[in-house]
Symmetry: none
Subunit: 213 residues, 4 copies
DNA sequence: CATGAATGAGTTTTCATTCAT
DNA sequence: TATGAATGAAAACTCATTCAT
């Protein structure tokens, strides 16, 4: 495995080749979809380009017209997934106006996304395992980006007195980020369902474990 | 990569070969230590047995007198790590008598363990990436085992009214398990320190985010 | 050495991949020829695929586009050889009409074949040595097949009174099969020539050792 | 496999180390016996010294106190076998006084020996396969040696008019040598029995296939 | 004499990538 | 554009032999 220490950056949604023909875009997406499934199932090393091509209904050589290398293809899969995750979460949040409801909806959407796209959870693992050298896993790149959006929501709650005064926004963001991240992987590995947990998570998160007084 | 669908079981601390000579035990541990470091650094596939041997100061063939295969060696590393993790956490908890203090100390010890042994965090990832077929990652095997021990602690807190009546022990165990798991990985990837977070984690965990009333 | 207990069957002359392009067929035959020579010279284990490729003027990887494994390549060599042997013998026999002349010509062709293709004698040995598990050596598969063709020739001689009445066709077939098999190997090992012996063999075979009366 | 081009010579029955203690001789023979069985079953390369030792009830290192190397052990097995073959044949022949009866008994003993000791047939194959470079297989060394003994028997038959005048002793010796060699291997591979064939072999050998006149 | 722990050389096969058609 | 034949680097594991005890 070649581990060229590529720096990974959050790809702007439209940074691809300028105006791909419809045919190309369609085929590119098809490849991406099949590749993600296979990478997730077999791991980076054990996923053969040959099979990705076959599964996508094209020849091996053709693959290289769309992605310069296996590594680039893999990264495109992860990136695509993270973009979809963000879209899911934001869409869910935007359905609500109340800050706490935005937050609750966002958490649920996050957990549901990985439940619906379990291959994305696997890809996160394989990325770290195979591209160890990359400074920061793609997931955390996106997490940081997303953080900014949520920061304003929490800041509002802090200012209007909904939250306990002594907390700091960054602490809250960290706490929740870690909680959902851990919950997602546990669900994935142990086959637990998001729906069941969501209410409890929100309950403990907001009110804590201790009995009042 | 050989993916013989081995069932992994939590190894009893003393189930090894019956009474290895001191020399053998010592050498075995040395190998384990060096291997864990290299597996963590390079990943399963990219960690060559040749190098493990060299690093351990023995010949390649000798490695195979102690571990039947690369896979077995790797698994022994993970297992060893998880055993040490458990020992760390239990030792820390046992220093205290009050349930809440046991819990707080246990969480801190958990986070500190992975801060001190970052290779163990990596091994967990590599295990999943390379032995995808194993039913349950070793970490979760140990997590389940550990769960039983903590259940009694929480049960006591619930019965004596420290915790809110409406919570269930299993919900609490899940919540905390997910929280520390996610926190540990975030710390590992982003280089954050356990000490700084511990107080905040306990604070939010126990009292929640919302201002009282 | 992999000893997958493959059942070996007499390959129909035309059962190969359906219509290989000329280029492929040509290259396949070239490989077969070089491989047979090297397998014979070095034995199965000591014949490296690398060298077979080099000798055939192609890259190691290319070898595997034509033969799935070393074992398959080896077996193809043996099979090819046995097919050529049969062709040689049958061609020689078909030049004659008289039964005894057919037989004599067949025996001579058989001995000459191995004299011209000494590597085939070696391959028979290496096959047995390395693929011990195969039920019946390829040679004997072909021998059985060939037996049927010769049975009719001998049956005729028996019925028209040329042969001694008390003999049975199967006994004759066995006797001659064993005789030429042993003679061939002796010639091969001791460097004796077929031509010199042919007359004597036929003489003793037909008239025996004892003086008449 | 190391192929040091050893020249193999027919070992004089008493050329071993001078006067081995009974214990050593006994153990040496035990090793020889177990090794022959294992070499025959697994082939030279696949027969591990470890297993030979285990089967012989001694430690691996001890093996090397009796045989300098694997090659030497193997050769000793073949040699031992060939000596026993000769003894069998000579003993059988010596029971008779009439030349033809000596010959008939010798041939039968030869075929029966390999039927009783099928591992010796295998060893002959493995020797050639693994020690390709040796000028002449051990079998043929012994065959040449034995030839001299039989030459006198046949010479007598030729001189007293039992055999056809036009035959030469060497031709007869070759013919029979090849015949029994081929018959022996066929029996071995196809599981045929010596007894059944012996009468037919002698019949065809002595009187030929053709009806008289 | 006997042991068995330690050594290290050696080879098949896969698969990402290229490039002539 | 699309194809797929050709390339060649790369690593686990075995086992004969040695030698300190």
């Amino acid at each position: 495995m070649t581990q060229t220490p590529t720096t990974n950056t959050v790809t702007d949604s439209d940074s691809e080749a300028p105006a791909l023909s419809d045919r190309k875009t369609e085929r590119r997406n098809s490849i991406l979809q099949h590749a993600a499934k296979l990478f997730a199932r077999d791991g980076y090393a054990d996923c053969e380009m040959e099979r990705v091509a076959a599964e996508s209904g094209i020849a091996k050589g053709t693959l290289y017209l769309y992605f310069r290398s296996k590594e680039e293809l893999f990264c495109a899969c992860v990136d695509q997934g993270m973009r979809e995750l963000q879209a899911s979460v934001q869409t869910a949040a935007s359905q609500h106006t109340a800050a706490l409801e935005k937050i609750s909806a966002g958490i649920l959407a996050y957990l549901l996304f990985f439940e619906t796209h379990p291959e994305q959870a696997e890809l996160l693992i394989h990325e770290r395992a195979s591209f160890h050298d990359r400074l920061t896993p793609t997931y955390f790149m996106y997490r940081e980006e997303s953080r900014e959006r949520w920061r304003t929501v929490w800041a509002e709650l802090l200012q209007n007195g909904t939250l306990r005064r002594e907390l700091k926004v960054d602490q809250v963001l960290d706490f929740i980020g870690n909680l959902v991240y851990g919950t997602m992987f546990t669900n994935h590995f142990l086959g637990r369902s998001a729906k069941d947990q969501h209410a409890v998570i929100m309950e403990i998160l907001l009110r804590g474990l201790l009995a009042p007084n």
